[in-house]
């Protein structure tokens, strides 16, 4: 039992390091990685250039088949690359969804000609893809979507709205799941397409979050017309196609949301109250010990997942563990840090606030972490059903035509 690479993994890690050392600067712990939503025109250029460099060096599309320019390697190689890349000051977050989810879906359902057209530019960072699944009325009920696609000759005409679309404002293409038949039960009337995000009839609006960030977008479709050739999979098979996409959801390789437990511990060592460092207060020790044990437990659980990957297995839904624990922990830790500060904890002004206001920001961003990408409630359902084998919730809409499913006010 150890945490070491196999010989082959170690060799691969060395080659990754060599590439990164030659082409990037190490990142200091204090610097958070550049995030998606912070990407502006200039940063986007840098991100695209970095992706092109990775592609040229053979570190893009690590798990893609070689046929389409990928490396044909396994998930553990992907993990190793990401672990190493995380230590360098390089842009992140712009291409993950396209390369990890959209194009693999294309590979399963698009034509050879289409793949010849789209895989290369995606791989080299020339074109960006997004995934258009969630809708305002759906919420956790992903298949309850209402965006309509209606056949008109050889085309489809699309009207409706998507929401929570990461990167839509940067994207050139997107994969889009629509309802083509409301007269059958909800999972059966869906059809998947890919679309040009610059086409007339597509409008992208950023969503302003309570933390001040804008990670997500709303996307509106007004008589968007696309050829049937852009259909992915059969008419009515959209749910099956969407599951393919979701199966490729990215594995978290590390990095709790910041400020993390180490930040909190450092703060409690540095911050003095009642004449001594806060960490000397037994209540502070008690709480931090709890969170530390959780945090390290998640880290060690990740090592167990990597071990399975290393042995060729696919990680299961137990990956949800980290997200269930982290989201709540982040909120609790932020609150606790502010409580230590007393009345001063209200103040987020960087001119006076401790730690540049990072705990105040975390207080405002953590509620989103308990929701985005699947609420904690949905994740618990997934664990209960897929890991523990407990029965599903009662499904009243199961055999009902979608148009007849009760939908309340919306």
């Amino acid at each position: 039992m150890d945490l070491e690479d196999t010989k082959e993994e170690a060799d691969y890690r060395a080659s990754v390091r060599a590439f990164l050392d030659a082409n990037a600067e190490p990142r200091s712990r204090s610097a958070a990685p550049a995030r998606f939503y912070q990407v502006n025109e200039d940063r986007l250029k840098i991100a695209k250039a970095w992706q092109a460099k990775k592609a040229a060096a053979g570190f893009a599309g690590i798990r893609w088949p070689t046929e389409w320019g990928g490396q044909g390697l396994s998930a553990i190689h992907d993990v190793i690359y990401q672990q190493e890349e995380g230590k360098y000051a390089v842009p992140k977050g712009v291409f993950e969804i396209g390369l990890g989810m959209c194009i693999p879906t294309m590979m399963a359902f698009a034509s050879k000609e289409q793949l010849e057209r789209y895989t290369g530019p995606a791989l080299r960072g020339e074109e960006i893809w997004c995934q258009l699944f969630s809708e305002p009325h759906g919420g956790s009920d992903l298949a309850g979507l209402r965006t309509r696609a209606v056949k008109d000759g050889d085309d489809w005409v699309i009207n409706g709205q998507k929401i929570w679309t990461s990167g839509a404002h940067l994207s050139d293409y997107g994969i889009l799941v629509t309802r083509t038949d409301p007269n059958v039960p909800k999972h059966k009337g869906l059809t998947m397409f890919f679309i040009d995000m610059h086409a007339p009839g597509v409008e992208v609006r950023p969503i302003h979050q309570m933390s001040g960030a804008s990670h997500f977008n709303e996307v509106f479709f007004t008589d968007l017309r696309i050829p049937d050739a852009q259909r992915l999979g059969e008419v009515g098979d959209g749910w099956k196609v969407a599951l393919t996409t979701l199966m490729n959801e990215r594995l978290a390789v590390g990095d709790e949301p910041r400020p993390d437990i180490d930040d909190l511990f450092a703060f409690a060592q540095k911050f003095e109250r009642n004449g001594k460092p806060a960490i000397k207060d037994p209540v502070v020790r008690d709480r931090i010990a709890d969170w530390y044990a959780k945090s390290k437990g998640i880290e060690a659980t990740r090592y167990r997942t990597f071990t399975r990957l290393s042995r060729g297995a696919t990680p299961g839904p137990e990956a949800s563990i980290g997200r269930v624990v982290n989201a709540m922990k982040q909120q609790e830790m932020a609150r606790f840090a502010l409580e230590m500060m007393g009345a001063g904890g209200m103040v987020s002004d960087p001119s006076v606030s401790q730690n540049g206001g990072e705990f105040q920001l975390s207080l405002l961003s953590s509620p989103g972490a308990r929701i985005a990408g699947g609420t904690s409630e949905i994740l618990r359902n997934i664990i209960a059903e897929r890991v523990l084998g407990l029965p599903g919730d009662v499904r009243v809409d199961k055999d009902m035509a979608f148009k007849d499913v009760p939908s309340g006010r919306g």
Binding site: E339, M346, Q360, L364
Partner: protein, 369 residues
């Protein structure tokens, strides 16, 4: 057994609720996040006309003397509506003045407060850390204040402040400072911009001693105890608003062909919020009973109410966001406004750790007696 607001008080609360419902406070609160004024001075003057600013000020000082019970009920309505007014800060200052001000000082400020023509605040904190006598370093000598206080609630707009300082012998004093000459006020960004905070730099600002038979630090804590009880009602009102909002959403928002509120994950979460809220409300009412009965040492009742009400509002506001799902954490939706207020109120008068310690200390005193 008569442990409920009187009919008169409920009447005042009902009027208040109807009045505030017409004011769209949430709009002002949201605007404050984008650089708006924060506090709504016009609204505060209207409230003063209704008698709310002077609710606890005796008629001899121009107040309405309707007393603490009405004050608690009004606080609950302000909390429910998230009203962006200097209610808590001004009350705190008025309470301090009533307790320790000279007749002249009372006559100078209390009528103006009651009329909505002046607002006050308490300047106690000096940066981060729990409420503590040792943390007070601002100096008061020869009628002048020197040093820095932050955060001070509504400090950028208040007309005067009750400042906790030290005299040349190192003893704690309470002084009254008009916020003008010799005071530099800097607005500070905070998690709840609708109850704006400021930094006050005193550079030889003139101020007058507040006198009392009580030890000035004890007097300060007594005032804070009273404020904690009033604030508990604000928090109860806020928590109730969050619960109502979440329940309404859970009943009308559908997923999987049924209201999301038919899921136990939502039902039990909201039942827990209800439980926390009811405990907080009951403890707040015990605090109100203490205020009404004129007891001197309210620390146990105040701490109990404060601990419960912090937990209730923070939980209710947080789980309201969670119940709303995605829309809940957007800038445009209302839940974030309550979440900000809940967390700000949880910190402003000293956080849970201070109050829990105060609660246990009060219990120890009682058992020692």
């Amino acid at each position: 057994m008569n442990f409920e607001f009187s009919d008169e008080t409920q009447e005042i609360a009902g009027q208040g609720r109807r009045f505030l419902a017409g004011k769209d406070c949430l709009k002002t609160v949201r605007a404050s996040l984008s650089g708006g004024e924060g506090s709504d001075a016009a609204l505060w003057r209207e409230m003063a006309d209704l008698g709310w600013a002077g609710a606890a000020i005796p008629e001899e000082y121009g107040g309405h003397g309707i007393g603490y019970e009405a004050l608690c009920a009004i606080a609950e309505e302000l909390g429910r509506s998230l009203a962006p007014v200097p209610f808590a800060a001004t009350n705190l200052a008025a309470e301090a003045l009533l307790r320790t001000g000279s007749e002249e000082q009372k006559q100078a400020w209390l009528p103006k407060i009651a009329a909505g023509e002046a607002t006050g605040t308490l300047a106690l904190s000096e940066g981060n850390g729990p409420i503590s006598e040792d943390a007070v370093t601002v100096r008061y000598a020869d009628g002048k204040l020197t040093g820095t206080k932050w955060p001070v609630a509504h400090g950028a707009t208040a007309d005067f402040a009750v400042v906790v300082a030290r005299d040349p012998d190192g003893r704690i004093v309470q002084v009254l400072a008009e916020l003008g000459d010799g005071v530099t006020r800097t607005k500070l960004d905070s998690i709840d911009a609708s109850r704006p905070q400021a930094r006050l730099d005193f550079d030889g600002a003139p101020a007058a001693l507040l006198q009392s038979n009580e030890d000035p630090w004890d007097a300060t804590l007594s005032v804070i105890d009273r404020a904690a009880i009033i604030t508990a009602f604000e928090e109860v009102g806020g928590a109730q608003a969050c619960l109502d909002m979440a329940v309404d959403y859970a009943k009308t928002r559908y997923a999987f062909g049924r209201p999301i509120g038919s899921n136990q994950a939502i039902k039990h979460k909201l039942a827990d919020v209800f439980v926390a809220l009811e405990l907080a409300r009951s403890n707040a009412m015990m605090g109100a009973l203490g205020l009404l009965s004129g007891e001197q040492d309210l620390s146990l009742a105040a701490a109990t109410a404060r601990v419960s009400s912090i937990q209730a509002f923070v939980t209710a506001s947080s789980e309201n966001i969670q119940t709303h799902g995605g829309i809940g954490f957007t800038w445009e939706a209302d839940p974030q406004l309550f979440y900000r207020r809940a967390n700000a109120l949880a910190l402003g008068l000293g956080s849970q750790d201070f109050w829990k310690d105060r609660l246990i200390s009060a219990l120890e005193r009682r058992h020692a007696a």
